[in-house]
């Protein structure tokens, strides 16, 4: 009988010990979680396709939706060559490449050193904010699908061409902000996106082939040897 009581007591104390142990763990998690999750709480640029958009996706013949209108997506011919030959004259200096996006003037300027490579109107975030800051391109995709929004501003766009995803320590790569070509509107120089930087497809192609990492097939990841081009997004009042 005594033995049985002792065993019961032991079990009770053991359970109590575990419960007491769990309380500080819960408190710890509650305190630390907001700090850690701060970065992941940034909403995705494409709320519905989020991580799916970070992968190469070609859907020739697919129909998209933008502004409640059906949009026929252009067909994408995938590159078959792994190493795209460098076009003579495109790599004139070894100076650092840098892309500037001015949200106030809605223009993009790409420089290699002090040499202006291109300057063109863009469309930044209207329904979602385009993040400001200093970023690096971490992957280039020949095309992907982007979907998001809701109600009247729902969009679902297959074959978004020449996508250059960028990120930094504050805006994780996983949230999917990018520079890319645009076939569904032509209203550059005015805000028109859900957070990404929209460009005329011909301009996006030119930038895609110029920007680092050097294009290698249809998916090109940046790494330590081939780092992505720097992208600075700012508005006139933030300088």
């Amino acid at each position: 009988m005594r033995k049985k009581n002792k065993k019961r007591k032991d079990i009770f104390y053991l359970t109590l010990r575990y419960l007491i142990t769990l309380i500080p763990i819960f408190i710890l998690v509650i305190l630390i979680y907001p700090l850690i999750s701060k970065k992941t709480s940034i909403p995705c640029a494409n709320s519905l396709s989020c991580k799916e958009s970070l992968k190469l996706k070609i859907e020739n013949g697919a129909v998209g939706i933008f502004n409640n209108q059906k949009i026929i997506a252009p067909n994408i011919a995938l590159s078959t060559s792994k190493n795209k030959p460098v076009v003579l004259g495109t790599k004139t200096t070894a100076d650092e490449k840098h892309i500037y996006v001015n949200l106030t003037t809605q223009t993009l300027s790409a420089y290699q050193g002090k040499t202006l490579f291109m300057q063109t109107p863009i469309s930044s975030g209207l329904w979602g904010k385009t993040p400001k800051g200093d970023f690096k391109i971490w992957v280039k995709l020949r095309a992907t699908r982007m979907a998001g929004g809701s109600g009247a501003d729902f969009y679902d766009l297959p074959n978004v061409p020449f996508v250059m995803f960028f990120g930094n320590n504050d805006i994780p790569a996983s949230v999917g902000f990018s520079l890319h070509g645009t076939y569904w509107h032509n209203n550059f120089g005015h805000m028109m996106s859900h957070g990404c930087v929209n460009m005329k497809t011909t301009d996006a192609e030119k930038l895609y082939n110029w920007a680092d990492p050097p294009t290698n097939g249809n998916i090109t990841h940046a790494d330590n040897k081939n780092q992505g081009t720097k992208v600075t997004i700012y508005s006139q009042d933030s300088i």
């Binding site: 010990r17 007491i20 142990t21 500080p24 763990i25 710890l28 630390i32 979680y33 850690i36 999750s37 970065k39 992941t40 991580k51 502004n67 209108q69 949009i71 500037y100 001015n102 003037t105 223009t107 300027s109 420089y111 202006l116 300057q119 063109t120 109107p121 209207l126 329904w127 800051g133 200093d134 970023f135 690096k136 971490w138 990120g167 930094n168 320590n169 504050d170 994780p172 790569a173 996983s174 076939y183 569904w184 509107h185 032509n186 209203n187 550059f188 120089g189 005015h190 805000m191 028109m192 005329k200 497809t201 011909t202 940046a222 992505g228 720097k230 600075t232 700012y234 006139q236 300088i239």
Partner: protein, 217 residues
């Protein structure tokens, strides 16, 4: 009873558990880019507002302006010729593949009026384009079929300014900025009474204006 050994065991357990939780949470952020934030002083680059390619032969009185479609497959060309103090404008469309120019529209203007090709002239699907005509009183915006076919009003073009003034007399058209979708032209206006900014879509096939809750600045 709790002994020192028990206390140590409990503390160890807490630390281990917290470590595991932290590790699990860190894993959730593993998609993060590996690049570092760099803080470089940004010198504001000099901006040149892009304009259509302008080839002006100095010795001749004609000017050619071109604008490629967003996908680069088509070109709209404007040729301006000075004739006896007037300016004759000719507009051609062509495919990059065959480079055959098709005359779509021509008009002779006085000294106070002028035509221009807006940067966003092409509809996203290359079916339509629009032109801007600046006059001393208003700016007219003409929408054409790239093919040169007649529009739903059985005319070669639709004058957005004229139609807007007829249909929505309480608003003043300020600007036509571009295309929101293949059939929708973005029209920025102001209310005549309050001066409030309001955007509309001009639906080309329906020849109708749709008021928007968002202002497309």
């Amino acid at each position: 009873m709790f002994t020192l050994k028990h206390v140590l065991k409990t503390v160890f357990f807490i630390v281990m558990a917290a470590g595991l939780v932290l590790f699990a949470l860190m894993q959730r952020n593993s998609h993060k880019t590996t690049t570092n934030v760099f803080s470089q002083t940004i010198t504001s680059p000099t901006f040149v507002i892009p304009t259509p390619t302008l080839l002006v032969p100095v010795s001749t009185p004609s000017q050619t302006t071109t604008m490629d479609s967003p996908d680069g497959t088509k070109t709209l060309t404007m040729i301006k010729r000075q004739i006896n103090g007037l300016a004759a404008y000719f507009f051609y469309t062509s495919n990059k593949s065959d480079a055959v120019d098709k005359l779509i529209f021509k008009k002779t203007e006085g000294l106070t009026e002028s035509f221009s090709i807006p940067y966003n002239t092409w509809s996203p699907d290359n079916v339509y384009f629009f032109l801007k005509e600046a006059t001393p009183s208003v700016n007219n915006y003409y929408v054409f079929y790239v093919s040169g076919n007649l529009l739903p009003n059985n005319a070669q073009y639709v004058n957005i300014q004229e139609l807007f003034a007829q249909k929505l007399p309480d608003f003043t058209l300020v600007d036509v900025t571009g295309w929101a979708a293949p059939n929708l032209v973005l029209v920025n206006t102001k209310t005549k009474q309050e001066g409030r900014d309001v955007s509309f879509w001009f639906d080309v096939p329906g020849l109708s204006f749709i008021q928007l809750s968002t202002y497309f600045n």
